[in-house]
Subunit: 226 residues, 2 copies
């Protein structure tokens, strides 16, 4: 399947590498292809994007709009604060009727100001995106786990933990749930119903960050014990 | 131990009954004792408070201020939207240096308006209470589970799920964690640090309500799988 992934951070790269290994035709979207390819390694990111791409040769890098147009399914893995601006670059006809899996969290740029959501409680980033792109079939998913667990749940406690989907189109939720099970091996995908559930899913990042600090690792996930 | 519990809803009654069974001297606080004792059964609450109390004879009912004064530990189990007003009735000297276990969620009265928190994201009800009562040692706990699971975690999946504490006094957090383990049998109490973690803990109610709707039962809890 052709999959477009918006964003070249840890989440975009993890999703891309996993989906290429599964045989999919993956295009990663970025703001400025040339600038991305010239990015140097840093202390935080010891492997430059160019080096990473040379080890994941089947992945193509393209401008955001082209990656979105490429995908039969599009995954939104940009930083939350940039999501609306990035999606504004995509032609509505290139998103129409497509499933958009929205993995974002509503956090500002790292290290700037106190940690708080820029939308919460009675609205969500997912709903803002859906309102801006009424013809896309948006499904919120995967934003509650760290990047490498998204694509390899079995690597943590044999996969005995859960992930959620929320969106206004029931058939799209079911397709994304199946996608998560088949492509990444998620055992339990809990369907939380319409997109208002994205409020709760996005607000979970606030407790997630505290659990991360308490445990000293992001290698954890929620299991809904019943 | 003398324990004061503010609130006579499902949470206050569950906590009170469990702590009396453990041999504690429990006083439940309410707004108007006489009115509470005269309350009739309803369709939603087929057992009147008076009937419930006659089956839990060792529990005393008193005005909020008296119940708070009674407790060596005080538990705040009133409806979130009433919490600040109720605690304003308590003399600061009757809370001073005491541990206040805050079980509230920042929801408005049931059925009135859309479901949203009246404080969230960059503040929390727990922090508001702590600011209003700077001399109390407030510990947020138990607000992430339904009443009967709070006091009987073993009744769900043999207790293999988690609860959290947050508060500005590390020794108070440790005492509350021990209290939860010893009195109710919680196996894992995760210490999330200072009271800013109450923001995330209180925001979890929004996803909790959606999980409740999806599963059709409130008999569930989070386990942090690591």
């Amino acid at each position: 399947m052709k999959i477009g992934i918006l964003g070249t951070g840890d989440v975009g790269k993890s999703l891309g590498a996993a989906l290429v290994r599964r045989g999919h035709d993956v295009m990663l979207g970025t703001r400025d292809v040339r600038r991305k390819m010239e990015e140097k390694a840093t202390e935080d990111a010891p492997q430059s994007f160019h080096e990473w791409l040379s080890k994941n040769k089947k992945i193509r890098l393209a401008p955001f709009a082209e990656a979105a147009a490429h995908g039969e399914i599009v995954m939104n893995a940009v930083a939350g604060h940039a999501a609306l601006e990035v999606l504004a670059k995509v032609k509505p006809s290139d998103l129409k009727e497509k499933i958009l899996i929205d993995v974002t969290n509503a956090l500002g740029p790292w290290g700037e100001g106190p940690i708080e959501l820029f939308v919460a409680n009675n609205d969500s980033l997912a709903e803002r995106i859906q309102r801006a792109h009424p013809n896309v079939r948006l499904v919120k998913a995967l934003n509650t786990v760290t990047a490498h667990i998204m694509v390899n749940p079995a690597g943590l406690a044999s996969g005995d933990h859960d992930v959620f989907v929320a969106g206004n189109d029931p058939e799209a939720r079911e397709r994304v749930a199946r996608f998560l099970r088949e492509e990444f091996g998620w055992k339990t995908v809990i369907d939380l119903g319409d997109l208002t559930a994205a409020r709760g899913l996005e607000m979970m990042i606030m407790v997630w960050l505290k659990i991360w600090a308490a445990l000293g690792t992001s290698d954890f996930n929620y299991k809904i014990v019943r």
